[in-house]
């Protein structure tokens, strides 16, 4: 196997500097091998460090520890032969389609005629004929991402890195692009030897990848490796396909940080002050609970099914599931979500009852909310600056996460009328304006 390994990652660790001078662990103990002819998917939630891993492979981010070996050589900077397709396309708006595609070849210092020839060939291959002199702003999202693909393929890379390349596109366009890509790849028409795909879309991973690595969050670790042996082209309605998707849902909604076995009871991990809170509005939470309580689910739903009905993809569904589970309004087990009694009362109640239940759950099960309220009660003037809690959180998480967590808890606390916050003065207080 090692004779054909394109990429070999061993014991990789990535950290970000924290404001207090410490380090925040983003990726830990990553082992990954990419062999010729494979598409490997990195699947995980926001904050699982999968994009960081992709950037480390691209040589955009040096490793804190561990090694990344590409064709037997350590990766210390952007390596020729590793090209990337970006989530937001990353096209240069002032260059035409042709000029964008030529960019990588120009950087290689190739002769003018070869640049032109290869660029036109790549444009032809990816179905952009006739668009050569168009500027990116004149193209639709799907066409723009085709330019992104052509630009990456034209340098004939050994490894193609894809950073959620379809997530900025509408459902139909994304599907067309995926199918086109898989077709070209299957026919051996692409000048590449291996692909690494970052995604948070479970079905996309099962549809495209030969192997899927599941990531846990904070820090990112590989918790499972799943081989997908289905033959291409794959059918989403195939029972085997569905079963795989279901299994991955189960694994990803289990809240234990250690590799879970399918079927273990989850949702028992205690939330602490330093838990990063998901960014979900109280409105979305109540809407979700109502759907869950109504027909046809009647309080119990298969996660992939309800996600599909509500048009939520993984990245949108998991925070909702997390939040509801955290607030002990639902229980998640084996990829199924079950409404708890409190959740039922919530759905049945009127606006005031709902607020009341939400307040109780928040104070009982979200320690940060209880903590802020306690501090406010203890102070004589019942106010406290935001920085007081921000600094406290920052000891455990990145500044961005601390900011997001404070925003979440504030939004929930406002809904449950637990405490108030004034953004102008950046202070928390007990009283709402009268």
């Amino acid at each position: 196997m090692s004779s054909t390994a394109l990429l070999d990652i061993h014991a990789l660790r990535q950290t970000f500097p924290r404001a207090d001078g410490g380090e925040l662990l983003v990726l830990d103990g990553i082992e990954l091998q990419l062999v010729q002819g494979q598409i490997v998917g990195l699947l995980g939630r926001t904050g699982s460090g999968k994009s960081t891993l992709l950037r480390s492979i691209a040589g955009l981010m040096p490793a804190a520890a561990g090694t990344i070996t590409y064709l037997g050589r350590p990766v210390v900077g952007p390596a020729p032969g590793i090209a990337m397709v970006f989530q937001g396309f990353a096209l240069f708006p002032w260059l035409t389609v042709l000029e964008n595609v030529q960019l990588g070849l120009e950087a290689l210092g190739l002769p003018e005629t070869e640049i032109r020839q290869r660029a036109l060939a790549a444009i032809d291959l990816i179905g952009l004929d006739g668009y050569e002199s168009a500027y990116p702003r004149e193209l639709s999202g799907g066409m723009r991402q085709r330019v992104g693909f052509a630009r990456a393929l034209v340098v004939h890379p050994n490894i193609l890195l894809m950073d959620e390349p379809f997530s900025a596109l509408d459902v139909l366009t994304a599907e067309t692009l995926r199918t086109d890509f898989l077709e070209l790849w299957g026919d051996g028409k692409l000048p590449i030897k291996g692909v690494i795909l970052v995604t948070h879309n479970i079905e996309e991973a099962v549809l495209m990848c030969d192997r899927i690595l599941l990531f846990s969050s904070n820090p990112g670790r590989i918790i499972r490796e799943i081989a997908v042996d289905l033959k291409q082209p794959r059918n989403r309605l195939d029972p085997q396909f569905r079963e795989l998707v279901e299994n991955i849902y189960v694994a990803m909604t289990a809240r234990t940080p250690t590799p879970p076995k399918i079927g273990t009871a989850a949702g028992t991990v205690a939330t602490t002050i330093s838990t990063i809170l998901p960014r979900v509005s109280a409105n979305l939470l109540s809407g979700f609970l109502e759907t869950l309580a109504g027909t046809p689910y009647n309080g119990k739903a298969d996660l992939p099914v309800i996600a599909d009905e509500l048009h939520l993809d993984g990245d949108e569904l998991f925070p909702v599931a997390d939040a509801l589970q955290m607030l002990h309004l639902v229980e998640i087990e084996g990829g199924d979500m079950k409404l708890l009694d409190t959740g039922k009362q919530f759905v049945d109640g009127d606006t005031n009852d709902r607020k009341h239940i939400f307040q109780r759950q928040l104070l009982s099960y979200v320690p940060l909310a209880a903590h802020i309220r306690r501090v406010l009660q203890e102070r004589t003037n019942h106010t406290a600056p935001k920085s007081r809690f921000f600094d406290e959180l920052e000891d455990h998480m990145s500044a961005d996460d601390a900011e997001a967590t404070l925003r979440s808890v504030t939004a929930w606390a406002r809904y449950g009328e637990v405490f108030a916050y004034d953004d102008d003065t950046e202070t928390f207080s007990l009283e709402n304006p009268t």
Partner: protein, 576 residues
Amino acid sequence: MRLSVPISVGSGWGRFFTRWDVLAVLLIVGLLAFFAEASRHLLAPLTDLRLRPISLDPANLPEYAARTTLRMLVAMALSLFFTFTYATLAARNKYAERLLVPLLDILQSVPILGFISITVVFFMALAPGRVLGAEFAAVFAIFTSQAWNMAFSFYQSLRTVPTELVEASRNFGLRPWMRFWRLDVPFATPQLIWNMMMSMSGSWFFVVASEAISVGNTTITLPGVGSYIALAIEHRDLAAVGYAIATMLIVILMYDQILFRPLVAWADRFRFEQEPGMQAPESWALDVLTRSRIVEHLTRPFAATWRRLLLARWPKSPAVAKRQPEDRHPWIVFQWAVIVTALAALALWQVGHFVVQDITLSDVATVLLLGLATLSRIVVLIALATVIWVPIGVWVGTRPRVANMVQPVAQFLAAFPANLLFPIAVSAIVAFKLNPDIWLSPLMILGTQWYILFNVVAGAAAIPAELRAAGVNFGVRGLLWWRRIAIPAVLPYYVTGAITASGGSWNASIVAEVASWGDVHLEAQGLGAYIAQQTEAGNFHHIVLGIVVMSLFVVLINRTFWRPLYLFAERKFRIG
């Protein structure tokens, strides 16, 4: 005009002459003649200036205009070069950044007009006995009025290049040189061109001051519109003042049509976000140049050379990613701090040593008091300008058609040097026996108030149509409309404009607190008048004292008043 060769152009000469060709040839030949004419005199000895004194005959004005224009263009080229190097260094190197950015901020606040007399001595020494030295000094003065805000704009653009584009250019192995021209410069271009236009308007003020330079008892007069104006004022020649205004108007129009409009139209492609429904700017000059086959054939070799330069693989080795140094090496940070402190101490000692020589404490006290006098004038003037221009700006900004007509007029008025109004101001003050301490003041804000108008118009135009519709729908009218919609929406823009206006007014006070018309001299009590008097007397120590105190005032007001206000407005009211 393009950064790269268009992909498929029909080769062969085809129809040899199109009407675009005729126009293009005229345009190019005209420009060449202009450069040749304007630069002919550069190497002449200084005595030539005395042999051919400035004449008020309007027949000379085209030549004077050409020479003034050339000075401004050269200064603009220097400013661009300064921008590309200084701002790039500041944006790329963390340690350089800590020194260069505050330095630029201070440089913006230094009243350049006060400096001209000092720099002139220096540049004359560089090319002794030649016109070139005096030209250098004039160009440098104009440069100092153009460069800072351009550098700031470029630095800010470099800091905000989208991460994905940076990653893409690294992933595809772009070397720093190529990244600079392919990514950084294009991204910064629209903002930079806007700042170039502002700089060009602002620098007219300095043209007038820098072409007729007198230090102590030496007076050097370079042929140009500025010195023509100075002479006209000295001779009380109203007709000549009129000719000068007409010439300026024509030059500004030509700048707009031949330089800036094509640039703006061309730079439209570099705009990162394209709001739907925005009309793309157009320029006939750009159309002429891009549609002409002759121009295309003539520029092909240049375009090819440029392309080869662009593709140069420089430096040879690709960039290696390093762990961000951040603040990880306290030793380096410490060394850096020591170096900067040492430099600052040295500079302080130099200034102190220089100034202390024949300056007493009472001098300092006087200058501080004069500073307060000028400050009170500026406060009143900015307040007045606010009361007048904010309502007008909002009215204009919410009517796109009016805004399009007002914009060029305001741009011309912003370029209008205060000196041109001396005849009216001085005659009026003398005729009505008015107090110059009060009535000379409006001259200070003459050129700078327009920045408030520009920005308020832009702010009002940026109010989302939905917000306005909501206002109409809920019947929000009158005072409530102003309090809840107009003022909050415009405030961040207004503050930006007011900062420029107040800084510029300090500078203008050096010209505006002293006015003369023929042999009538009027003076107001103020720091500007003090610097002007000391310049005329050639008291270098007192000039430096005046400049230092003025810079101090500007920096203090910016830090304690404008910046907090800006941050507040930005946080609270920025839409979107």
